[in-house]
């Protein structure tokens, strides 16, 4: 596995090539779940992909920079993905949990560069709600290793609102060349994802079929 380092503001991001292309097609970019990191090998259900397969370690995760003093948001992780897109060009995204939510944001924000986003089950899929967002002031011990406890605390509670998620679906469907640029493969669907799955332009295929759709 080869790794390149990208810069996102003061963060250095690790972008791993899990496997070079075996045939035609654009790259597949894996976005891990909350507290996870890019896997060491290609997950079995992605082996049919013929383009190159890459994985990005989010800020505070894997081999990316461990920030000082927290301050995470889903929008900052969207910036992480944008740095990867800036390097790889047009990609298909597949995200686990939190990474699935970020894939949706990226599909909306960079509709011209994201050739399909697949949302799958994984840690951090739910997020917080307005009602649960009572301010919490905690002091966490950072042991100098990823995953950053502040990432786990803050990104498991960041607000995921259906109307906000639907804005990104709308941006994606309005500007993508694909008829269904977003696919929900997740079995568990919190309120925001239920709303996304029901929106026009969103498919609900199994991972293997979604990969075929975006190949």
């Amino acid at each position: 596995m080869s790794t390149i380092t990208l810069r996102h503001n003061r963060i250095e991001l690790a972008l791993h090539e899990l496997r070079p292309a075996t045939g035609d097609g654009h790259p597949l970019l894996l976005l891990h779940g909350l507290g996870e990191r890019t896997p060491a090998t290609v997950p079995v259900d992605l082996e049919t992909w013929s383009g190159a397969i890459w994985g990005l370690d989010f800020t505070g995760h894997g081999e990316s920079t461990l920030p000082v003093g927290g301050g995470y948001s889903a929008e900052v992780l969207l910036g992480d993905v944008d740095a990867a897109i800036n390097n790889l060009g047009s990609v298909t995204l597949i995200g686990r949990g939190l990474g699935g939510y970020i894939a949706l944001l990226a599909a909306g924000a960079r509709a011209d560069a994201v050739h399909g986003a697949i949302i799958t089950d994984g840690p951090g899929l739910t997020g917080g709600t307005y009602e649960s967002s009572v301010p919490q002031i905690v002091r966490l011990m950072n042991q100098g290793e990823t995953p950053d406890p502040y990432a786990l605390h803050e990104l498991s509670r960041d607000v995921r609102a259906a109307d906000y998620a639907l804005d990104f679906v709308q941006f994606s469907t309005a500007h993508s060349e694909l008829p269904e640029p977003i696919n929900v493969s997740a079995t568990y669907r919190p309120a925001w994802l239920e709303a996304v799955a029901a929106a026009p332009g969103v498919a609900s295929l199994l991972i293997i079929d979604a990969l075929d759709l975006y190949r």
């Binding site: 003061r10 003093g69 301050g71 002091r139 941006f171």
Partner: protein, 305 residues
Amino acid sequence: MESPRLFPGAVTPHRHYRVDADGVGIAVNEWGNENDPVLALVHGGADFSRTFDVFAPLLAAAGWRVVAWDHRGHGDSDHAHLYSFEADLRDAVRVLDTVAPQRPIAVVGHSKGGAIMTSLAEAQPFRFRSFVNLDGIPYRRPGPDLPEYQRADAMNTEITAWLEHRRRTATGSRKPGTIEELARRRAQMNPRLSKEWLEYLVTVGAREDADGWRWKLDPSMRMGGFGPWRPEFGLFRLAGLGVPFLGVLVGADEPMGWGTKPHQVEKWIPRHGRLEFFEDIGHFIHIEQPEMVAGMALDFLGDPS
């Protein structure tokens, strides 16, 4: 090196030190007698604690130890890896733990500083003896009111602009200029404040490099932004506050501030709280009318001892 300019009534802080907030260095300024009861004075977005150089001494003169700090990325505090409302809240608590551990204090917050302290008053009411919120009650999203189809387009444009900005910030620095140029740039956000005041602010809020002055504010920060946050959730929070509360709103339109009007938020003011409205004053009310605002705040806060 140009010597600091003078401004009538402006007082250099009596004490300056740093607090470590989980690795982020927070710059703290104090005015007044160190043994007086603590009054925390909290600045808003894109501001810094030295913007209180005229207002803070008026409070200190009444017997308060006025403590103000620069939020991360602002003024003399460290530029951090990441920024968020919750991180600002944590940094604030680190400062308060240093100056007044487990002791209720008086709090005056302006703009976003008022919103941050509203959250703190909900989460940790035991830290407050009373709270003055200066034009820091959000009611609607910042920016123009737009019909739905335009709102979505505007948001899409804003997201793209934000991402493009993020792509540049790895290597970016603020644009240098003379004191007058920096003051003119800031006047776009502060059109009601005098040229003399804005030029004074440059000398305490910018640094002088070989090629000119630069605002100290982290160049990765920019106005605007987007996210799932909705102002009305701050209001639900306000209604439940259990600390003595004085809210202050203003009528003059300005680029900064939420433009909240009394009829929009009256019903959310906490029980036994008070709301004051000043039709002809702008968002930076404590800079436009320092004596009047200090007098009102001191009246409400009562005898320091």
